[in-house]
Symmetry: D2
C-alpha cells in the first residue's frame, strides 16, 4: 500500500452484492454503494422502518450491518469478487444516538494482506459531522 487502482467499480460491487447476498435487501432495499476507491468505500443506508428504535433513532444491529457491508464493499473493490471472504472480527464503539435519517458509512482499509484484510469504518447521520458509531473489522480471505 498505497494502491492506486481498484479491482471493481462501484456498480460492479453493487451488482455483486445484489447477486450474491440478496437477503441484505429483505423487507425493502435500504443499502447502496455510493463510492469505491483505493482502500476505500462509502455506503448509504436509508432509515427504513425495520431499522428503527424508540426515540426516533436507528438500531444498533442496523448500524452493525451497515459497517460490515461497507468493509466488505471496500475489500471487494480492492481485491475483486471474493464471495467466500468471511468476517472474523468486528469491534464497535457506539458514540452518539443517530438521528432518524439516512446513515453514511465510510470505510478505510488499513491492511490488505494475503490472508487478512483489516479496515475501520465511521458511521454518520447524513449531513452531520460527528461520528455516530466507529467500527474496526477483519475479513479472512480464502487462498
Amino acid at each position: 500500500m498505497p494502491r492506486d487502482a481498484v479491482a471493481m467499480t462501484r456498480q460492479e460491487v453493487e451488482d455483486f452484492l445484489d447477486r450474491e447476498f440478496p437477503q441484505i435487501h429483505y423487507g425493502g432495499r435500504t443499502f447502496q454503494v455510493e463510492e469505491v476507491g483505493p482502500l476505500f468505500a462509502r455506503m448509504r443506508m436509508e432509515a427504513h422502518e425495520k431499522h428503527l428504535r424508540p426515540g426516533e433513532t436507528i438500531s444498533g444491529p442496523a448500524m452493525m450491518a451497515l459497517a460490515d457491508l461497507a468493509l466488505y464493499a471496500a475489500i471487494l473493490a480492492q481485491i475483486g469478487p471474493v464471495a467466500l471472504a468471511v468476517t472474523t472480527n468486528l469491534n464497535f464503539n457506539f458514540l452518539r444516538k443517530p438521528k432518524l435519517a439516512p446513515m453514511i458509512a465510510e470505510c478505510r482499509l488499513l491492511k490488505v494482506g494475503k490472508r487478512l484484510a483489516v479496515g475501520e469504518v465511521s458511521l454518520y447521520s447524513e449531513g452531520e459531522a460527528d461520528v455516530v458509531c466507529h467500527a474496526t473489522g477483519t475479513y479472512s480471505i480464502p487462498a
Copy 2:
C-alpha cells in the same frame, strides 16, 4: 457480585422487550428469552428467512443482534427495567459457520457497576457444542 437474586423474571424481561422494542420482531417474531438468572440470560433466535446468507447459514448481523439482545436481557434481569441503558461497545469473534438452525445465546455478566455493565456472550447452533460466535459488550446505565 456474586448476586443471588434477579430483579425481573424471564416473562417480565420478554414482556418488557416486546413493549419497548417491538421493532426487534419486524418481519416475524424470531427472538425469545429462554431463561434468566443471576448475572445470566439465555436467548433463542429462530432461523428465519430474514437472517439467512448463501450456503445455508445465518448472517453475521443476525448473530450480532442476538448477542446484543442477550446482553440486554441479562442486564434487565439483574437490575430491572432500564429502557435507557445503551450499548457503548461490542466486540465479536466469528468462529465457525453456523448451521441453518435456531441459535442459542448464553450471556454471562462480568460486571454490573453503577455506570457500566459488561458481559460476554457465546452463540451456538442449537444442539451443537462448539461456539459459533463469541461476543463481549458494554452497556452504559443511566444515573
Copy 3:
C-alpha cells in the same frame, strides 16, 4: 474440538518462552506458566515494581502482556512450538481495579483452525473470585 491431548507440557511451554522470548523477563522474572491442558492455559504474574500504578494497583499494560502471553501459551500447548504465530487482534475489558497481588490469567481457546486461533482470557487477583480484566484475542498461525 474437543481435543483431549496437548502437544507440549507446561515445562516445555515455559522453556520455549524463556528461549524464544527472553525479553518478557526484562527487569525481573515475573511470568510463570502454571498449567496447560486441552485448549487451556493458566499463567501467573508476580506484582513486580515494574507493573505498578498509583493507588497500589497493577498497570493496564502489565495485564495486557499477561493476557497475551496466556493466549500464546494455550496455543503452544495445543499445536506445538510455533515461534512465528503472531497476535492479530486483542480486545480488553477492564472491569475492576486489581489488588497489589499476583495476577492469574486463565485462557480458554474457542477455536484452533488452520490459520487462526481464538481464545478468551480471564484475569484475577490471586485468591479473589471476581474477574479483574477480560480479554479475547486472535493469533495468526503460519502455514
Copy 4:
C-alpha cells in the same frame, strides 16, 4: 465537538504523566508527548531494549502501552488533569511487524462525553507511512 481549545499544553501533559505515573519510565525513559491539540495527541516511544522481540521488532505489549498512553494524553489535553480516569476498553489490530525504530502514536478523540471518552490511535514506525497497529479505546471519566 468540534472544540478548538485544549485544557493542558504538551508540557503540562508530560509533567502530569511524570508526576502521577512515574512507573511508565521504569527501566529507562522511552515515552514522550510530542504534540497535543484539540481532540488530538501524538506520542513517541524509543526502541528501548525492554520493548524488543526476536526478529528485530517491537513487542505487542510495548505498542499497547504506547496506544493507551496516547489516548490518555489526548484526554488530559482536552479535559484537564484527571488522574482518576481509567481505561475501560481497548481493542487492537496488529497489522504489520514494526521496524526496530522509534514508534509514533497519533490519537484522535471520537467522543468526549461526561462519563466516557473514546478515541482511536494509529501507530507507525518513525518515518514510515503504513499503520503498524490500530487501536480504539474508552476511558471512564469520574464525576
